[in-house]
């Protein structure tokens, strides 16, 4: 077990990023309250659609304030550990950005290119972003998985995933 005290990012006395989180929570809470105020109250409904969002939004703003106070007092999160997680290094944002870009590409193309191609690109791109450098093998594995899953869904479960440009070929 990794017993080293989790070296939460931010080595200073305060975890400044937590202020950002508190701000975001406050914003979500405030917007929830605002959004609820635009709703109409129905008939014969003593509570209406507003009460719940009012309560949730208000509490969220309160929690955001508490988090800000806790942060100011030096509270730090213990970031999550795991089998493959090594918290002793700073976060590797380049990899995260590459993965996100791959996923965005998939979102943009899945309707036109179809699942078999976009899914394979997703796998190959992610594997590459994560450090795999065996491109040919990655492409083969990616296509086997995407075409395989297409057929499992089509034949086994009667769900035709988008065929895209391969319509008629699959």
């Amino acid at each position: 077990m990794n017993t080293t005290p989790s070296s939460a990012p931010g080595t200073g006395r305060q975890d400044r990023a937590q202020y950002g989180l508190a701000g975001l929570l406050g914003l979500i809470g405030a917007y929830t309250v605002y959004d609820a105020s635009t709703l109409n109250v129905g008939f014969a409904d003593p509570v209406g659609p507003r009460a719940f969002p009012y309560v949730i939004g208000t509490v969220l703003v309160g929690l955001a304030a508490l988090l800000a106070v806790a942060t100011a007092r030096g509270d730090k999160p213990e970031a999550e550990e795991g089998e493959d997680v090594d918290l002793t290094h700073p976060a590797d944002w380049a990899t995260v950005a590459k993965l996100t870009a791959t996923l965005v590409f998939t979102i943009a193309t899945v309707d036109t290119l179809g699942w078999a191609i976009s899914g394979a690109v997703l796998f190959v791109g992610s594997a590459w972003a994560l450090g795999s450098r065996t491109l040919i093998r990655d492409v083969i594995v990616g296509f086997v998985m995407s075409v395989g899953s297409w057929y499992v869904f089509y034949v086994g479960l009667d769900i035709p995933l988008t065929p895209g440009v391969l319509d008629g070929v699959l």
């Binding site: 077990m1 017993t3 990023a17 989180l21 929830t32 959004d35 609820a36 709703l39 129905g42 014969a44 409904d45 003593p46 509570v47 659609p49 719940f52 969002p53 949730i56 939004g57 969220l60 929690l63 508490l66 988090l67 999160p77 213990e78 999550e80 550990e81 795991g82 089998e83 493959d84 997680v85 090594d86 290094h89 976060a91 590797d92 990899t95 995260v96 993965l99 996100t100 791959t102 996923l103 965005v104 979102i107 943009a108 899945v110 699942w115 899914g119 997703l122 796998f123 190959v124 992610s126 594997a127 994560l130 450090g131 795999s132 990616g142 998985m145 995407s146 899953s149 479960l157 769900i159």
Partner: protein, 506 residues
């Protein structure tokens, strides 16, 4: 004994060759996914949910039962062979299990985990068979106010008992409740929090939230912190089996673990962490002079593993009888029920009696299959731990996208997936627990419904929330629940500080 007859009926329905095949597929898939490092039972069920889209409800639940138990067993395999457990519930198993493995007793550790899981799962499921109908019988009588109170209780318990920071627990819960607000209001059909997006007028699919927060969030989080050095994996030599002496030392911890685990699963007190911890401490105390503890004691694997599985079985009591999920896995199963148009709740036992008994019977079958299939397959599963990490996490991304996309086949769901993946990443960075969030997403709308129902009946008088004795009692328990965590900490106090730290850091 009526329950036994119904269970036999369920066994008959579940034991057709086709259904047995679904159970076997479920067990194999569940174990496969569960063994992979970084994937816990909840993520396993969420990722495999789409596989059941094309199936009949009964077959889907049979497969689920297999996936559920398979995923749990896979998780313990990982924690015994690697020295870093994936799920909080297998932390305790890992302590002694890994030491056993290092001493060349990996096979025995896996065997005692498998047999202990089987025994605990079977006893636990039988207890569900008797308790759930009884509880549902009572629950049918309770009205909206009491139901609301019980929902609040579940949320408060799950949020405040678990994790090291209650503030972060409540942040998770209220973020989840906010996500649950998105979409059409149940009474007035006005869209809330939809940012004028017609696609958001439908409620957000819980599968997308779960897969995003669990699978994509985890993959992104690991990608940002990928271990540079490979982990030490202990090979399994020979078939997992136990000698006579191992059995002599294991059977009592199995039973004690079951006794500890089931009640914690059945009451919404926060899953398997507490009972596995208590079981470990108990076995350690009972061992003469500490026994082999610290050097790989089989009791320290047998007890917590049994407690883990018994508590997993116990979660079916509130899930089936009240429609209340208390673990992340149960929450996703509830979502699966809903996708078939089945509303879990007190009526479930009577309205969908066949289905429930088939599910319970398939839990028993899945449990048996797990034992039969996984003892011989353990060395094979161990090889899975060597999956190259780029492939593993690229695969998680691939299947997460497939799962989110397959349900409705619109790219917009993949956008949502990315948003919830980012949220999951953020939650891991800031140590916000995932379970309260998922619980908030699924219980929030239900809670609002009961809240409004209760107040409609009383014409808006606040007294309508507490006009049932049960509701008052439950709110009293909620008040206590805010005090109890302090007591729990006091109970845990006298143990080894190092373990304390390990447990708290989960």
């Amino acid at each position: 004994m009526e329950s036994l007859d119904l269970l036999l009926g369920g066994l008959e329905a579940a034991a057709t060759p086709e259904n047995l095949m679904w159970a076997a597929i479920g067990v194999l898939l569940g174990t496969f996914v569960g063994v992979l490092p970084g994937i816990g039972p909840a993520m396993a069920v969420a990722l495999l949910l789409p596989v059941t889209y094309g199936l009949e409800p009964a077959q889907a639940f049979i497969m689920f039962a297999g996936i559920y138990y398979g995923g749990m067993y896979g998780g313990s395999t990982t924690s015994i062979l690697l020295n870093t457990p994936g799920e909080s519930s297998s932390v305790m198993t890992a302590i002694e299990g890994n030491k056993m493995a290092k001493r060349g007793r990996a096979a025995q550790a896996l065997a005692t985990a498998a047999i202990g899981s089987f025994i605990a799962g079977t006893i636990g499921t039988m207890l569900v068979v008797f308790l759930a109908p009884w509880l549902a019988g009572i629950a049918v009588e309770i009205g909206a106010p009491s139901y609301l109170a019980v929902t609040v209780l579940a949320m408060v318990l799950v949020t405040s008992v678990l994790g090291s920071s209650r503030l972060r627990g409540f942040i998770g819960l209220f973020l989840g409740l906010t996500i649950g607000l998105v979409g059409l209001d149940l009474n007035t059909a006005q869209a809330r929090l939809n940012f004028d997006q017609p696609l958001l007028a439908d409620r957000i699919d819980i599968v997308v939230v779960a897969v995003g927060v669990f699978a994509l969030g985890e993959a992104l989080w690991v990608a940002a912190h990928l271990r540079r050095k490979p982990l030490e994996i202990i090979p399994v030599s020979g078939q997992p089996w136990m000698g006579r002496d191992d059995f002599r030392r294991s059977w009592k911890p199995w039973l004690r673990g079951t006794a500890l685990g089931f009640p914690f699963g059945a009451v919404p007190a926060g899953g398997a962490e507490t009972p596995t911890f208590l079981s470990y401490v108990l076995e350690r105390r009972l061992a003469k002079d500490g026994g082999e503890f610290g050097k790989g004691a089989i009791e320290g694997v047998a007890g917590p593993e049994a407690a883990n599985n018994a508590s997993a079985a116990g979660t079916f009591v509130p899930l089936l009888a009240l429609g209340l999920p208390v673990t992340a896995t149960a929450t996703i199963m509830l979502a699966a029920f809903q996708s078939y148009g089945i509303e879990p709740g007190p009526q479930l036992m009577t309205d969908q009696s066949d289905l429930v008994w088939t599910l319970l019977a398939s839990l028993l079958i899945g449990n048996l299959m797990l034992l039969v299939l996984n003892l011989p397959l353990a060395p094979l599963w161990a090889k899975l731990l060597r999956t190259p990490r780029p492939y593993l996490y690229a695969g998680i991304l691939f299947f997460a996208s497939l799962g989110a996309y397959a349900a409705n086949q619109r790219p917009f769901d993949l956008v949502l997936l990315l948003v919830f993946g980012a949220l999951g990443f953020m939650m891991r960075r800031f140590a916000i627990p995932v379970l309260p969030l998922i619980l908030g997403v699924i219980l929030g709308p239900l809670m609002e419904l009961k809240f409004r129902e209760a107040l409609s009946l009383s014409d808006g008088e606040a007294s309508g929330l507490v006009n049932e004795p049960l509701a008052v009692i439950v709110y009293a328990i909620v008040a206590l629940a805010v005090v109890v965590p302090a007591v729990v900490r006091a109970v845990r106090g006298p143990t080894d500080p190092a373990e304390q730290k390990e447990l708290v850091s989960r």
